[in-house]
Subunit: 233 residues, 2 copies
């Protein structure tokens, strides 16, 4: 009996990235009504603050997620590269890094460090979505955890546009508060390049490649669901 499934040819990196891009076009959170309204400049100050505060729960969980992925990566050379993500978010010291930069964004938008850190702003839907992502990375094989990070392929375009939008429509947020996004413009491409390399290496059958793309869809659902929670407030 011919195994029809296994006879499907493995995709080249080019073809894989094409499929990835299609997922991005359909499911990435830049299409979410809340982001659409952010981009039109029609979010209220309160809505913007709610986004910043709840998105902080995501930011705060990223080094945790990345440490879980690190604990699974079989190759030392890959752990050394993946470690940069933890350093990017946690910082070289307490006074730098992505989490600190997000706290500065919050401050620039009128939310104090203390009230953000005490967690009372976090909506249950936001927590559940982010925890689903962390647990996905905790419980799945490393290459699926890595694949779920590939939304980073789409991130620079959105982030670069977001900087413009915030400067134009939400100028009540001090421009210094946008340093988090500026740093991501160089970090995300470096990260997604490594992520893609790892997934292409590990997903060595067409079926595994499809699983990897499912992981990206899952991650799109996480980001979308986070915005749903923020939109409903």
């Amino acid at each position: 009996m011919i195994d029809v499934k296994s006879s499907l040819a493995i995709l080249s990196q080019r073809e894989f990235v094409d499929r990835l891009e299609k997922i991005g076009e359909q499911k990435y959170h830049d299409k979410h009504p809340f982001h659409q309204r952010m981009h039109e400049g029609t979010l209220t100050r309160q809505e913007m603050q709610r986004w910043i505060a709840n998105r902080f729960y995501y930011q705060k969980c990223l080094p945790i997620k990345d440490a879980l992925v690190l604990s699974k990566l079989p190759e030392r050379s890959d752990r050394i590269r993946w470690r940069e993500r933890i350093i990017d978010h946690d910082g070289l010291s307490e006074n730098d890094g992505g989490i600190n930069a997000w706290l500065q964004l919050a401050k620039a938008a009128g939310i104090s460090r203390e009230e953000l850190l005490d967690g009372h702003h976090f909506l249950p839907g936001a927590i559940f979505a982010v925890d689903a992502y962390v647990n996905y990375c905790r419980l799945n094989p490393w290459w699926l955890a890595v694949a779920s990070s590939l939304t980073e392929v789409f991130a620079p375009r959105l982030v670069s546009y977001r900087i413009e939008i915030l400067e134009t429509h939400y100028s009540w947020i001090d421009s210094e508060g946008l340093n988090y996004f500026r740093a991501r413009l160089s970090q995300a491409p470096r990260d997604s390049e490594h992520g893609l390399e790892l997934v292409m290496r590990a997903a060595d059958t067409y079926e595994k490649q499809m699983q990897a793309l499912k992981a990206v869809e899952f991650k799109c659902d996480v980001l979308w669901s986070l915005l749903d929670a923020i939109e409903h407030g």
Copy 2:
């Protein structure tokens, strides 16, 4: 009704460390017959190689264990400090770090990098003991995972003695191979200081302090069991 248990007074750091030292005196692996023979200089070349090869499984799992602990540490400042352990073991690049230094020790003792990395030297008992340690850190609250690392309090004395012993009795191992141990002389005290600080902060009742000491005993059992496996060969 008086809760007798809770009426036991919390130990000062001094008292806690005294109890810790007592565990070390009774259960630390420097008392294991295999280590005793190592120190007397009576291990055969084959036994020494077996120790180096199987202890490598422990070394190789340390950054994995430390990434799991990192993923649980609630404070960013502690994660930044704990991260140093991962950097120490995995290295700044593939050409340095503790794992690399252990591979050099193995080479100095006549075991090639390739045969060590392919894993066929690892004895089941050694794997089970080390995996028990990693899983303890994976499955327990962060402060117990941290407490289990406190055997580092006892390590510098043993490691410093070991350098002497190896240079004296096992001079067929090139002295350059001993760099791993030289590095640990400064790393272990820094690590155990942070570990102790974390445990004293988190174990805020006498009962929790007793649990933390149990974690240290557990870790002593792991190291002892690793030597049992190596001794039986």
